[in-house]
């Protein structure tokens, strides 16, 4: 979901994606950089992203990933369910506060 969210903002290649996610999470998420690739392949297979070879700003041959319409839809669904879950948690926390 994080990958899709990052890609919604702008298409990126693998390395850039890692950098972006790490920055966004304030380096809280220290995952092995390699673990991004199996996830990207899964998204590719599910046709939520598409990839194209291009040349990056640093003049490097890179494979840029772009979110597809299906990916967008999926992301929205995921976010809304995520938000609902958050809402739910917030509600529970509120009531517990009210009780105490």
């Amino acid at each position: 979901m994080m990958i899709l969210e990052s890609l919604r903002r702008q298409p990126a290649h693998g390395y850039a994606l890692v950098q972006h996610i790490q920055q966004r999470s304030n380096n809280l998420l220290q995952v092995e950089e390699g673990s991004l690739y199996p996830a990207l392949q899964r998204l590719l297979k599910a046709k939520m992203v598409k990839a194209e070879w291009g040349v990056s700003s640093t003049n490097r041959r890179v494979r840029t990933y772009q979110i597809t319409a299906a990916g967008m839809k999926h992301l929205e669904r995921e976010i809304s369910s995520f938000e609902r879950m958050f809402e739910g948690i917030a509600l529970v926390l509120d009531t517990s506060k009210a009780i105490s």
Partner: protein
């Protein structure tokens, strides 16, 4: 290129593109990271390291990413399988040994299991077999409980009237019919059954209709005597012609109407029989006339099956039967018989009926179980042996595993590889095993004493047994592949890669192998001891004093039921046939008898001394009775101890001959000859007691009739005559110079003097003798085979272990030799190793064998389970074969050239 290959190459082309894209992408990623780190001030080398560390296991990542596109796991297993095939092709000796080992191990299991399944486990092809029960009589006689006895029509009706737990009850009695056609008469197996039998079983017809209660009436039903034929008979005899329905045929002298065909695959409720004709119970008196059992309340001849009512358990039905038994007895038996102790103590038993029933079951259930255990042990030995072999192989391949590990293969991946290899071997073995089992089962069936049963038992591998074989193979693969797999996947990569020559895990493996080998030796020893005891049992049984000879003697059953001669005329016919046979070439003696030794069947009677005042009591005064002709003892080689033989004249009536033990029991302390013997008959049907006296004219040697295991029964021999019970179906006993001559004489005499009687198959006495110890022979031959197999496997195991020991110690042996050790010392060094392993195995195996021997006590005859000679011999055999197996590696060790051994280091 066909569209098919194009499609496939298309898919793979796309894949390959995907994979190369991925690899490139990852490479770029690492480079970008490295460059950035270098911009931040790291050296190139340092930056590369950091980038790699941050990225994680690149191979694993790549693999995982690829897996996304694959049918998960399947492709990696496919790749492993391909690799395994290549690996195994590289070492064909190893592959062949393992596959063959497994084929024998699994094949033995499949073979025995197929038999077990056919005889003990297969359900009848009927709906809801679980609800079918069998109701039998368990008779508690002073000689022990005789269980699973049949009932009769009166008891059946009585249960039917009173039972509230059974929804249908039917009787079934196997019966042979003679089908008379224009081409001649032939005997077919069949059964007389209650009219509702097929309804209760829940069967539907293949053509026409099945029997109905209306058919089972005195005088026949709407179609006259209705007969149902088997599907097989319909196919083979009538070529599945539907017009056969309604056809009249002559079956055992009476016309019956074929009304229908039983469903395909239904072979009756007796597992080992295959009936071709089913007729109603009421047909029995029509065929047998005065000898009919149907209206005799005292006989026991019908096996009873029933369906449990819905919701009723077998226990509830059994409880109800206990209350019904006394009612049924009082309803059916005459008052004078009702209160005999033996009847009061007996009762109805309810047993599961869904798997049918067979006389062979009680006989073979335990031997088959024992065999199943033995083959299980053999399979275990196979697995242990293969585990050892695979371990040795794994240690030679550790370099390969280390490299794969260094290249990033996960541990589970390496383990998977090895397991796939084992699985491949096991499956190849399994396929061979099925062929092996299929071939051997035909041979095994010859051991079943019942020839008809052997013919009708289907031992073709069916889906169920194939499943078991497959399961066996997978289990084996896990058993022998797991240890090497685990070891291989836990190799410490670095040291292995650093050292190029010697094996690191050898130490670890050697420990594992050293556990496996004594285990194998122990199991083998137990098998050898068990086999030796079972074999000793057979030879002891063969060596027992029989009281008769078995060579060149032919037993020919007469079937004179349909001859016009009855009574005295029939007696004279027998005498004429005997006389004629004696004139024919080669025959040196011939006679006739009701029962022949070791046939498994015989009659008993109650006898007392006529001068004794004590009343005749059942069981204590019960003796074997055999009605025989003159010359019977001479033909069988039973010696006459005193007095004279029968004369085959009508004056024989009123005389009898005793065997030694009968004479000693009936007339203790006095000469039996010339004394009077009284036979007491109690008619169970009417309760009347009759007596008959005869004079003892001779004493003969004891002869075993029932079984070789039991002492010869006290026997009373009566002259055969008009009072003989089964006069029309006695046995001719013919002794000739050769069996062929005996057979020719029997056929010639029969054709000349009784041309109308159906031809029967005579069997040689030697065969009957072998049949009587069929179980023991089966056990002895198979356990011997399994023990030999285990010995061979252990030999291979020891050879393999010692060979790898010598290879690993080449340097050490070289040094020792260089320091002056003699060849003898080196030889002793190797042999000491073997001796230590054998000792450990023998001690463990000895304990195991004692336990095993005690648990097979019931199968043994004249062999004590602690017999030291057998144990000693088994240990000797094992040790000998162990040392022989170790001889080759030891000789190689001795021939090591110290110079070369040291130089190679």
């Amino acid at each position: 290129m066909s569209w098919f290959t194009r499609l496939f190459s298309g898919i793979f082309w796309r894949r390959r593109n995907l994979y190369s894209d991925l690899a490139e992408e990852m490479r770029e990623h690492l480079e970008e990271k490295t460059e950035q780190l270098m911009r931040e001030g790291m050296s190139r080398e340092e930056a590369e390291h950091t980038a790699r560390r941050a990225f994680g296991n690149a191979t694993l990542v790549e693999e995982r990413s690829r897996e996304v596109w694959q049918w998960p796991r399947l492709e990696s297993i496919w790749a492993d399988a391909k690799f395994a095939v290549r690996q195994l092709a590289k070492s064909p000796a190893f592959a062949a040994t393992s596959v063959l080992t497994l084929a024998l191990g699994i094949g033995a299991n499949t073979g025995i299991f197929t038999l077990t399944h056919a005889l003990l486990l297969k359900s009848l092809p009927i709906p809801e077999p679980d609800r079918l029960v069998r109701i039998a009589l368990d008779i508690d006689s002073p000689n022990g409980v005789v269980s699973d006895q049949p009932l009769n029509a009166f008891l059946l009706q009585s249960i039917q009237r009173h039972s509230k737990t059974l929804s249908g009850l039917f009787g079934w009695a196997p019966y042979d019919f003679v089908l008379k056609e224009d081409t001649g008469s032939r005997i077919y197996s069949g059964a007389v059954v209650s009219g509702n039998a097929f309804q209760v079983l829940g069967l539907t017809t293949a053509a026409g209709r099945l029997l109905a209660p209306a058919d089972d009436q005195r005088g026949g039903g709407p179609d006259g005597w209705a007969a149902v034929i088997s599907h097989r008979f319909w196919q083979q005899h009538y070529h599945s012609d539907p017009s056969v329905i309604g056809k009249h045929v002559t079956l055992t002298d009476h016309s019956v109407t074929i009304v229908g065909v039983a469903p395909k695959g239904f072979e009756g409720v007796f597992v080992t029989m295959h009936p071709d004709f089913y007729l109603p119970l009421e047909y029995e008196p029509v065929m047998r006339g005065a000898k009919s059992m149907l209206r005799q309340p005292g006989g026991l001849w019908i096996m009873v099956w029933a369906r449990l009512m819905p919701g009723v358990s077998q226990k509830m039905a059994a409880a109800e039967m206990r209350t019904i038994y006394p009612i049924a007895v009082s309803e059916t038996l005459p008052p004078s018989v009702r209160h005999l102790a033996v009847i009061e103590r007996s009762g109805f038993a309810v047993r599961p009926g869904g798997k049918g029933w067979s006389l062979l079951r009680p006989q073979y259930a335990r031997p088959l179980l024992l065999l199943q255990i033995l083959v299980g042990v053999v399979l275990l030995v196979c697995c242990v042996n293969l585990a050892g072999l695979c371990l040795a192989r794994a240690s030679t391949r550790e370099h390969e595993f280390a490299i794969r590990g260094a290249l990033g293969a996960a541990r589970t991946r390496i383990m998977q590889q090895l397991l796939v290899e084992s699985l491949l071997l096991a499956l190849c073995g399994g396929v061979l095993a099925i062929l092996f089992a299929w071939a051997t089962d035909r041979y095994l069936l010859q051991f079943l004493a019942d020839r008809e049963a052997a013919a009708s038992l289907s031992v073709r591998p069916d889906p169920f047994t194939l499943l078991i074989t497959g399961g066996c193979a997978v289990l084996c693969a896990l058993l022998f592949g797991l240890a090497p797999g685990w070891l291989a996947s836990h190799i410490s990569i670095e040291p292995v890669l650093r050292r190029s020559g010697n094996s690191i895990t050898a130490g670890k493996n050697a420990v594992a192998q050293r556990i496996f080998l004594p285990m194998q030796v122990a199991l083998t020893l137990a098998l050898v001891v068990v086999a030796a005891m079972l074999t000793a049992t057979v030879s002891h049984l063969r060596a027992t004093h029989l009281g008769f000879r078995i060579d060149n003697t032919l037993l020919a059953p007469a079937d004179f039921e349909r001859l016009p001669q009855k009574g005295l005329d029939l007696v004279h016919l027998y005498r004429r046939i005997i006389l004629r046979m004696k004139q024919l070439p080669g025959v040196d003696n011939a006679s006739v008898a009701v029962s022949t030794p070791l046939h498994g069947m015989g009659q008993t009677g109650v006898f007392t001394s006529a001068s004794s005042s004590k009343p005749a009591i059942d069981f204590t005064n019960r003796y074997w009775v055999n009605d025989v002709g003159a010359g019977y003892f001479a033909t069988l080689g039973t010696s006459m101890l005193a007095g004279r033989d029968f004369a085959d004249e009508d004056s024989d009536a009123g005389t009898c001959i005793l065997n030694r033990s009968a004479a000693n029991r009936i007339f203790p302390g006095s000469t039996a000859i010339g004394q009077s013997l009284r036979q007491t008959n109690r008619n169970m049907n009417v309760g009347k007691i009759t007596t008959q006296d005869c004079q003892v004219i001779g004493i003969v040697e004891d002869a075993k009739y029932t079984s070789l295991r039991e002492p010869a029964p006290p026997t009373v021999y009566l002259p055969f005559g008009v009072n003989t019970n089964s006069l029309a179906s006695m046995y001719f006993v013919i002794h000739a110079a050769a069996l062929v001559e005996a057979q020719n004489a029997w056929q010639k005499a029969l054709h000349e003097l009784a041309p109308g009687s159906p031809e029967t198959d005579p069997i040689s006495f030697a065969v009957q003798f072998d049949d009587s110890i069929a179980r023991e022979r089966l056990l002895s031959v198979l356990s011997g085979f399994f023990a030999a197999l285990a010995l061979l496997l252990s030999g291979i195991g020891i050879y393999g272990l010692m060979a790898s020991y010598v290879t690993q110690r080449t340097t050490e042996i070289g040094v020792r030799m260089a320091l002056g050790a003699t060849r003898g010392k080196i030889f002793a060094l190797v042999m000491r190793q073997v001796a230590a392993l054998l000792l450990l195995g023998t001690v463990t195996g000895g304990c195991l064998a004692v336990f095993a021997a005690h648990s097979i006590k019931a199968f043994l005859f004249d062999v004590s389970p602690g017999n030291p000679a057998i144990f000693a011999r088994a240990v000797l055999i094992l040790t000998f074969s162990g040392f022989v197996a170790a001889m080759l590696p030891a000789r190689r060790a001795v021939s090591i050239d110290p110079m070369q051994a040291l130089r190679s280091e």
